[in-house]
Amino acid sequence: MKNRIKLVGLVLVCLLVLPLLLACAKAPSATPAATEKVITVGYLNDLSGAISCCGIADQVGLKNYLQYIQDEKRIPGVKFDVVSWDDRYDVSRVAAGYRYLLDKGVNLIVTMAVHQSETMRPMAVADKMLILGYNTSELNIADPIWCFTQQPLTENANASFFNWVTQNWDYQKTGRKPVVAEINWDNSMGKAGAKGAEAYCKSLPDKLDWKGTIVVPPGTMDFSQPALQLNQWGCDYVFSTMVNGPTTNLMKEKNARGYKFQVCTGGWGFVCFKQSKDVGGKDIDGLYWISAEGWHTDGTAGLKLADTICRRYNSASDIEKLGYLENICYNFGLVFGMEVEFLVKGAISAGLDPTNSEVLRGQATKMKIDPQGLYPPMTWSNAKGSGVDKLRMYQIKLVNGVPEPALITDWFDVTKYKK
């Protein structure tokens, strides 16, 4: 009897849940017309792991832009489909994800973190599969290049910050050189950043008093000791090659103890600005931020477009809850969409097959797009793989008690510091 009651209960629950699920179910989509070409974009990124706030916003941006292309009929006769793989920020899942996407017939793959594209690279070279990435490393853009990225090498960004310091330090008034250092998590991005900072600062001993690099284990969130060390060195400027959380904690530690050094972080350091703002509050006031991306209050055409697209395809509650408009990764996604648009358009206008990854790669080497302030003009025509060579400098300032990035230097050449 008891079992029968349980069974009836279970059936009832199922009957109640079923309409709910059916209500959420996707309506059968219209099959593409016979003349329509379908470009399948593979998306491999972290959707539930350590950097998922970035991966989710990026994915939404990409999907929104591809939908925008379709709705605005910017490439007639072409439909886009996105197939995703969540690597959970776990390198061991990248290879299986790559194969999964290939199995789903993707024409190109969009990814983000450097370890993802580096891991896929040998397979992509063998399979002739185009990869669009976000940041890069020297290994990634070694010949033959199959991975084309938005960001310059991390080392260039760090060196550029110290270059900015030399240009803005008042040597006469202070009567001394600025004391500088670098801090990073012990990972590939940190290593590359430290390399760039150290090489640049050591090359200018008369202009910069380089103290060294503090390397902390990946995942470190307590910066009491590193902050103390930086203060004991008498640092004026410190570059943090770390993501949101640790950089925010470093700022909190510095403010709590009254240390005077200024902190700067790279594009990665503020990808999810809403998160940093929520966690850091007023403590992130004064933080420098060197980045290729535009901020949504900059008012350029590209950023207005981003705003329009975001509002068109996402509910107000999602925008608020996930903070897309304050998440630079949403913009990365839009730029990825623009890249795909350029490649497919180029292939079609050249009379080539846009579903062929090798053709798309050929187009990538000719790419030239201007995201109008959303990002610097990008070109891969030098076939070097890494996209932009211009960065912006922001400083977080309190506007009505709320931290907001304020642009202080626009578009400076990251290769200029090189002799």
């Binding site: 699920l21 209500a23 959420c24 179910a25 996707k26 959707l47 539930s48 998922s52 989710i56 994915q59 995703s84 793989w85 969540d86 959970r88 776990d90 390198v91 061991s92 990248v94 290879a95 299986a96 790559y98 194969r99 999964y100 290939l102 199995d103 370890h115 580096e118 891991t119 690279r121 040998p122 397979m123 063998a126 490393s137 020297e138 290994l139 012990d186 990972n187 590939s188 940190g190 290593k191 590359a192 990946p218």
Partner: protein, 350 residues
């Protein structure tokens, strides 16, 4: 192993044989032959997944010998795989040694390194030994990431594929054959170690090391041997890993992976070679099912959102393992044995 009622082992050789009946041999040969045809009809994704499972099975077999058989907890198996992978990388890239020749060298070097971290096993056991092997996880990864001249540091290094004539491990189907053969060989080695004097010594140490010593088993020697063999397996798995990704980086060898491997030994059934294989296949397979389920659910129910399902898959994955351990704490192998026994004894209950 339970036999069909009325069928008794009449010799010692038959009693310790892995396959005791002709039927078992036939089933095994047919099974292996079927598996060898997989590359003919399976997509690269599935082959890649199998290759990943092969890597895991070999590493978990090593852990099974150290932990499941000899009772020495090791939390550094992933880092030891790192030693194997970098042995191939450094020897092939920096010294130009053939990748094939690096296969046994990866095992040997890892075995020797593993012995260093296994040495405290004579003095400490259980949680204390776990801490010592945990140190291996961090020390090895730290050293590898700081020997930049040799290993490329945090930036990692590319490893050339194993080639012979026109055959290259860069293709998932070719790597499947390599991985398949390696896995079969390693399973056979692990299974046979268990049946030898050494294996029995391991089991004696696991069950009661003082009693084992009283019986004349040299604890230091056998514990170190267990670490050497277990780490040798990890080295071979590292070689396979390097062939699988062709790009190695210290961040690929995490503590999480080491813990999962220990979890696989437990889920499969401690002390059983079949259990170790079952555990590795089960956990990796479940992971894959969770991926597919979340991708499917995200397509069918877009309103709920792909991301929600992706996160949900991790919860389901964890729940299945917890429920499994509550209802079958002796592992999959025990459940398999019960199934076989009930099948053989049918229609009798006992």
């Amino acid at each position: 192993m339970a036999m069909i009622p009325g069928d008794f082992s009449q010799s010692y050789e038959r009693d310790i044989a892995i396959f005791r009946t002709k039927t078992q041999w036939v089933v095994m040969v047919i099974g292996l032959a079927i598996m060898l045809t997989f590359p003919l009809f399976m997509s690269n994704y599935w082959l890649s997944l199998f290759n990943f499972i092969f890597v895991t099975v070999i590493a978990v077999l090593g852990l099974h010998l150290v932990t499941g058989l000899c009772g020495q907890i090791s939390l550094g198996q992933s880092a030891l795989m790192c030693v194997g992978a970098y042995t191939v990388g450094v020897l092939s890239v920096k010294f130009g040694i053939s990748v094939w020749a690096c296969l046994p060298l990866a095992g040997l070097v890892t075995g020797l390194i593993g012995m260093i971290f296994g040495a405290p096993a004579l003095r400490v056991k259980e949680f204390y030994l776990a801490m010592s092997t945990l140190a291996a996880q961090f020390i090895i990864v730290w050293v590898v990431s700081h020997l930049e001249e040799w290993t490329g540091g945090q930036l990692g290094m590319y490893v050339p594929p194993a080639t012979i004539g026109g055959f290259s491990s860069a293709s998932p189907s070719n790597l499947f054959y390599i991985g398949f053969i390696l896995t079969i060989v390693m399973i056979a080695v692990a299974k046979n170690i268990q049946r030898t004097r050494v294996g029995r010594a391991f089991i004696a140490i696991r069950d009661n090391d003082i009693a084992a010593e009283v019986m004349g088993i040299n604890l230091f020697r056998y514990k170190l041997l267990a670490f050497f063999i277990g780490c040798f397996f990890a080295g071979i798995a590292g070689w396979m890993w390097a062939m699988y990704l062709q790009n190695i980086n210290p961040s690929q060898f995490t503590l999480k992976e080491s813990l999962w491997m220990l979890g696989m030994v437990i889920v499969g059934g401690m002390g059983s070679t079949t259990g170790a294989v079952m555990g590795a296949v089960f956990v990796r397979g479940l992971d894959m099912i969770a991926d597919y389920a979340s991708a499917w659910a995200g397509t069918v129910f877009p309103t709920i959102g792909e991301q929600a399902f992706t996160a949900f898959s991790l919860i389901i994955f964890g729940l299945v393992i917890v429920i499994f351990l509550i209802y079958e704490p002796r592992g999959l192998y025990h459940r398999w044995e019960l199934f076989k026994a009930s099948y053989r004894l049918h229609p009798y209950a006992y």
